[in-house]
């Protein structure tokens, strides 16, 4: 690609690729920004940048990730995403075919979550100054509830629910990036989470907090929520589902699946009385069919997460310093 000049080539790119893929009346207006009525009294907004390498991996790609990630961040606020922006930083020399694939994937992901991409930006950087494509998406969505969904609402006695098995996205990308051949490719769990979250809210579950367990994994979410809510979270390691192939890959590399990234998993903190019903609602959605309870909030040791290990002993669960790195022996 050689579209960096802002002239005809760039215009072709914007019109023929992005314009065609994401077509909708707000984007078609081709203005500097999109104008629309706020669909409710309270809206949520978020942004995230996606720099995954490789761009395509089993179970997803950077495009699906960029849409689902932002849709999911809004869902964690209790909001249904309505409009997204998409910013692309493209590296000179990127095969156009790759860009087409990414954009088509974004269009599919947007359609699946009923969200429109209404504004965007494209820059091209010199060859060697990027990893092919970086995507930034920002999103706004209407809050579906008046309740305050966030760590501050977590109370002692809450049940900690997890929407499915963990570690697949991180290990899928790691296996591909490092050329590690594990038996059977690990598929990323990349998926939109808005429907199960809306089902919880529409089902009348008193949701106290929601968090998707992306970078830093389940462990980082637990530690953040414990610290921000001032509650003590107690989690049972054996209750956290991890697929065999993911566990095997983690063992080989010395990784703890609790710290590995996910792109289609979230934690829900709900009152004890709602826990059973919340789980049955979640399990009706394919992306959450493995939903389970992994622990409880208590008041003993505020701000701390304790993990009951596989052999029945308790230890602290802490946040990781930096990245998990493969061990020596």
């Amino acid at each position: 690609m050689a579209h960096g000049g802002g002239g005809k080539l760039m215009r072709h790119l914007v019109e023929r690729l992005f314009g065609a893929a994401f077509a909708n009346p707000l984007l078609d207006a081709r203005h500097d920004g999109a104008t629309f009525a706020a669909p409710g009294a309270r809206i949520a907004m978020t942004t995230d940048s996606y720099v995954v390498r490789p761009l395509f991996f089993p179970g997803g790609d950077i495009g699906a990730l960029a849409v689902n990630g932002t849709v999911n961040d809004l869902a964690m606020c209790g909001a249904r995403a309505r409009y997204l922006s998409a910013g692309f930083i493209l590296e000179e020399g990127l095969p156009m075919e790759d860009l087409w694939r990414v954009v088509a994937s974004m269009a599919r992901a947007a359609a699946a979550s009923e969200v429109q991409i209404v504004t965007g930006d494209t820059k091209v950087v010199d060859r060697g100054k990027g990893d092919g494509i970086y995507v930034n998406t920002a999103g706004v969505g209407a809050l579906a509830t008046g309740a305050q969904i966030g760590p501050a609402s977590v109370r002692p006695g809450d049940a900690v629910l997890l929407s499915g098995d963990v570690g697949r996205h991180g290990m899928a990308v790691m296996a591909l990036r490092e050329g590690l051949a594990f038996e059977g490719a690990i598929q990323s769990d990349c998926a939109p989470l808005v429907e199960p979250v809306m089902a919880l809210l529409e089902g009348g579950i008193d949701v106290h907090c929601l968090r998707d367990a992306t970078r830093g994994g389940v462990a980082s979410v637990l530690v953040e929520v414990a610290e921000q809510s001032g509650t003590h979270l107690q989690v049972d390691e054996l209750a956290v589902p991890v697929r065999e192939e993911v566990r095997g890959a983690c063992e080989v590399l010395g990784f703890d699946p609790l710290y590995v990234a996910n792109e289609g998993r979230f934690l829900a903190f709900v009152p004890e009385a709602d826990a059973g019903r919340a789980l049955s609602i979640l399990r009706q959605h394919r992306v959450c069919e493995g939903a389970c309870r992994i622990g409880s909030a208590g008041g003993d040791d505020p701000g701390v997460v304790t993990l009951r290990s596989a052999i029945g002993a308790n230890r602290i669960l802490d946040m990781l310093s930096g990245e998990q790195l493969p061990r020596i022996c």
Partner: protein, 370 residues
């Protein structure tokens, strides 16, 4: 997971803990030599299941922790040279040298890469004939055969742009040094299972006899460690001092002969400085003269530099089992995994990092296990 879950069974762990409680009649102090075992002990909370009076000390068996500062400085100096690709295992990149670590060199534009096998570094050298590919080879007897294979293969295939900065260490001389110290309070050792998978355990037999200490070759799963502790305590209670093999599913007395042969072909025994401990005679492996063409130290002529450890850091005492991480006044305050004073706080297998991650307070203060 098949062949693993059975070594993490909570019921069996309780049975071992009960058997230990029935066996112990007085206090005993044991050392697990291997950092992998330290990690497992703290991660699974194994020490909280031990009866009162059985104390585990954490030994010098983390290869990252004991790699001398000057060798890390040398690796950093090489990584900063133009045209060099420096490869190592992930753990090594975060360990601070005198002024910076390898991750900082990478952030500054140096070509520093994580590899999963030293043979990947040889492959990288073949693919980049115009670059110098250097593998930073550290570790115990466990990693030495694969590293030897990389050098052997590069030499045989004439991969002239591959070299190794070798800083291997050997376990038995370290155990000897610990036992010879007048401050030693270790009464039995859990020897590292995978070191013995390669080397066997004949080297430990004279040590057990000479110093009258039980040595039990032990694996890394929670039940392995608990059984290893029980076997040590039984010997101590019965007044025996023998080498026993808990890890028989992997370890034979004579070890892995082809692996040892390859190590002998490529490496020779040299004196080696251990970070925090000092020089231990005949405790390291260096490349033989026949492989000098692949010896990064010779190829790049990086000179030894003056180095100084932070005065406040007690990692040397922790590595020798003389102090526990909680006894350090800087633990968790001026020394954290984000800003470590010494290597035991950096490596995931270092005792201080393991304690910081899994147990901020001494086990007793937390009220033990379940």
């Amino acid at each position: 997971m098949r062949f693993m879950d059975e070594y993490r069974d909570a019921g069996a762990a309780r049975e071992y803990a009960a058997a230990l409680a029935r066996t112990v009649t007085r206090p005993w102090t044991l050392m697990e030599v291997c950092g992998g075992q330290t990690h497992a002990i703290v991660k699974f909370g194994i020490d909280t299941l031990l009866p009162e009076g059985v104390t585990l000390l954490h030994g010098p068996g983390c290869p990252v922790c004991v790699t001398p500062l000057e060798v890390i400085d040398r690796a950093i100096a090489i990584a900063e040279m133009p045209g060099v690709i420096l490869c190592s295992f992930g753990d090594m990149l975060r360990v601070p040298g005198s002024h910076q670590d390898l991750l900082s060199v990478k952030a500054g534009g140096g070509d520093v890469r994580i590899v999963y096998s030293p043979l990947d570094a040889v492959k990288l050298a073949r693919e980049n004939p115009e670059r110098e590919v250097v593998f930073f080879g550290v570790g115990f007897e466990t990693t030495a055969p694969a590293n030897a294979m990389a050098v052997y293969q590069a030499a045989r295939e004439g991969v002239a742009n591959f070299s190794m900065l070798a800083s291997h260490v050997l376990v038995p001389p370290a155990i000897e040094a610990l036992l010879a110290s007048p401050t030693c309070r270790i009464q039995a050792f859990l020897a590292a299972g995978h070191v013995c998978t390669v080397m066997g355990y004949t080297e430990y037999e004279p040590l057990a006899r000479k110093h009258q200490v039980p040595i039990v070759v032990t694996g890394f799963e929670p039940l392995d460690v608990l059984q290893g502790v029980l076997m040590c305590v039984r010997q101590l209670e019965e007044g025996r001092a023998e080498v026993e093999n808990q890890y028989a599913r992997s370890v034979r007395r004579e070890g892995n002969a082809p692996a040892r042969e390859l190590m002998r072909e490529v490496f020779e025994i040299v004196p080696r400085k251990w970070r925090g401990v000092g020089e231990i005679p005949r405790s390291g492996l260096g490349l033989r003269a026949a492989y000098r063409a692949h010896d990064a130290e010779h190829r790049f002529g990086v000179a030894a530099t003056e180095v100084a450890e932070p005065e406040e850091c007690i990692s040397g005492l922790v590595l020798q089992g003389l102090k526990t991480p909680h006894e350090c006044p800087a633990f968790g305050t001026r020394c954290t995994p984000e800003k470590p004073l010494g290597a035991t706080m950096v490596s995931s297998e270092g005792a201080c990092a393991a304690y910081h991650r899994y147990r901020r307070q001494p086990a007793a203060a937390r009220g033990g296990g379940s």
